[in-house]
Symmetry: D2
Subunit: 251 residues, 4 copies
């Protein structure tokens, strides 16, 4: 039997962190060897033989954590948000001295969401029309969701690269807001409904046909298969990778 991968979890007391802790404990090919919270010394992990560390901490701490992990020669799987081009650049620089180390930073670990976004971008150039609907619980404060904006921006970029024009729209008389928000020329509609969690639907239309890509997220455990895949693959992918889709074999 092959050796189990030795894993540490940073931010282990948080909502996401504690879910990761359970998922690692239940995975037969992984061994949980350390859990850290605010104030704990990341550098000390090297002595425990940790191979991969998962970071679901806070924006103010994650960059320092990742830099320390790189220095310690520990691969990192990062779900914390707040990364900028500058902070990503500093991780890339630090990795130059550690060519074997891998860092995966992903804004979304739900495989279904990542696949829906990736497929939408790839399909977008082949359809006359594309629109996005996102549906969330009514306690959400921003609209559209970050995922939907990111999806629409990816669609817009793919269509621009392929030289595809805007979706046709003959609307001349509309109530304010009826046609949704405009994200890089792609219409995005935000539904807020008690009972929902997080859902996204991408609609692509051609004469006589429609392709729909829909992702439903019912529970935060939906992130775990993506996190486990990251843990298993990051050691074989040196350097910085941004986005789980690059770890997927999508043909």
């Amino acid at each position: 039997m092959s050796e189990r991968i030795r894993v540490a979890v940073l931010g282990a007391a948080g909502r996401m962190g504690s879910t990761v802790v359970r998922a690692v404990q239940e995975a037969p090919d992984l061994e949980l060897v350390a859990t850290l919270d605010a104030g704990d010394d990341v550098g000390a992990l090297a002595d425990s033989g940790v191979q991969v560390a998962v970071d679901f901490t806070v924006p103010s701490a994650t960059e320092a954590n990742v830099l320390a992990l790189v220095d310690a020669g520990i691969h990192a799987v990062v779900g914390t948000t707040g990364w900028t081009d500058e902070s990503l650049g500093r991780v890339r620089s630090r990795l130059e001295a550690r060519p074997g180390a891998g860092v995966l930073i992903a804004p979304n670990f739900a495989l279904g969401a990542v696949l829906a976004m990736t497929f939408a971008s790839r399909a977008a150039r082949y359809f006359d029309s594309v629109e996005v609907i996102e549906l969330h619980h009514p306690d959400k404060v921003d609209a559209p969701s970050g995922t939907a904006r990111h999806t629409a921006a990816g669609i817009a970029a793919a269509r621009a690269a392929a030289g595809v024009g805007p979706s046709p729209d003959a609307t001349t008389s509309a109530l304010d807001g009826a046609r949704g928000a405009d994200v890089d020329g792609v219409r995005v509609h935000s539904v807020r409904l008690r009972g929902l969690v997080a859902h996204e639907e991408i609609l692509l239309g051609n004469p006589g046909e429609m392709l729909t890509l829909r992702h439903d997220s019912f529970d935060r455990v939906s992130f775990m298969p993506g996190v486990l895949l990251g843990i298993r693959e990051v050691g074989a992918r040196p350097g910085l990778t941004v986005g789980l889709e690059h770890f997927l074999d999508l043909g």
Copy 2:
């Protein structure tokens, strides 16, 4: 075998009218005895023994047609738009002299659309949240569609009558238009997509559950079952009826 109902079609050369002509010809319990177009004399129908006349003409002609039909003692099934409270009042007045005559005026003869609207109004008071999405081909000039506005207005009225407050919404930061149009306090989102025809979805949410009512109209023949039902029932429903839902037995 029972007698067949003797039917005339007004506006027989139009898109809807010609579809009605075919549907009447194919129905074993109906007999097509006259087809009229612009300029033909409605009053002469009485001599042909016409029992029910279907009017899919134009807003400028339909009221005069209906008044002439009432005078002639012919029941009327009307799909032409453009009716106002005043023109409906004139039909009611004229019917007073003809207590046996029935007139059905319906903005929508698609059974599925009528049922979706009716069910939405009845269900609306039992849910925390309600929103409407309508989806049409991109050559449509108005947004939201008349059907969606009518649906939202019916939902709003039903919730107000039951003392239900507005759908919860914590949005504090939104792109313009993301949250859709506001129709009497109900959010309505309009999607325009090549390949679509006419579609409406009503979403109702409570803690832990969602009820979805969706109507897809793929083709204008979808109006025919409702028109035939109108023809068969109008003789037994004297007076003016506005809306096909009143001819349905919905418990």
Copy 3:
């Protein structure tokens, strides 16, 4: 301010019972005055001034509980399964001596599920075709679900009562099982998928149109609005009522 309704919960330690306890505690117009579990004396509730008791116990206990509640003049709201025509008959007999007491026994308290079933039965006679798809988590042992069987049976009965024939089906060559199960002549398809909870979709088709009624149950809290509605209404509905739909005002 009006008096709060005094409520007891039987089976308070169970999964459903404990959820009911919380919901009653959070409702401003209800007062939780007693919780009972196996072995506790139902008869003693009368002394606490309990007006309504909610029973989510077990099939072997529920009938005796309800009979004791009726004897004590306490209204009952019952979500326990296992009722037969005979046991319902015994409740009806006992109620004869207590004309003011109300008993609501409901197989399903999710408002959305009850509405989907009711609307499906009412709409079924107006469409050529009707089929049912139910979707559940893959740990479910029976297929189709009880709710889907109940829905299909209601649809079949409504179509039979209206003299509507079977849904058209030209299939002459099929793989075993492709066309689903046959429940009183209505096709029912059972999907089992990791990540799902409990979902049902009723599809109704006419030439050129489709009406879809879908219910998604994401969490057991979805039963609470129906249970609370039962508690509030049961006092005004003397006698035995089977099915939450009879407490809804559906026009």
Copy 4:
């Protein structure tokens, strides 16, 4: 301005063929220079300077047509069904003498259907559960549809190649047919409903999430964008290609 591609249509009088004729006539970068029907001489097309021929004829004629086109140095885009491994082998042999000629044979030219199938195969390995629902008009004689069987077979092959086990299913008590047909271990459900045309839904489930890929075909014109793409690309893809997906740039 670049030269227009000179196109011939074989089977021009058929339902699909006549639709292709119109689509080619309306495309500004294509020139329709010949239409052929049963009995016409394919070999003579070379004299008209035809560059690409589209074949929507009948299974008994298509192979001879394609071989004649290859001999004449004309690229072929073929939507006729009935191809076997043997007939495909004969096309490959003939192409050896004409290394510049391209032949595209595709069972399905609807871009949305091809993308749904391709994406389903690529995503299938990342999910615990996968099932397929196909929905068609009730005049269809076979169930499941050929597209759905093909989709399920592709999913099954992709999961087998990645070493993924069967979808979980705890069903121990089921009505006959409830769980659908078994296609290589993937469950397929066939709905037949008046009003529908051709629709397919692939459901992929993981703990806490679902990814849905749905294709709706409303009208035969949905095949045209794929046929036009084939005409434009086949000249740059020498040899035999089976399946439109190989002409798409899916990253």
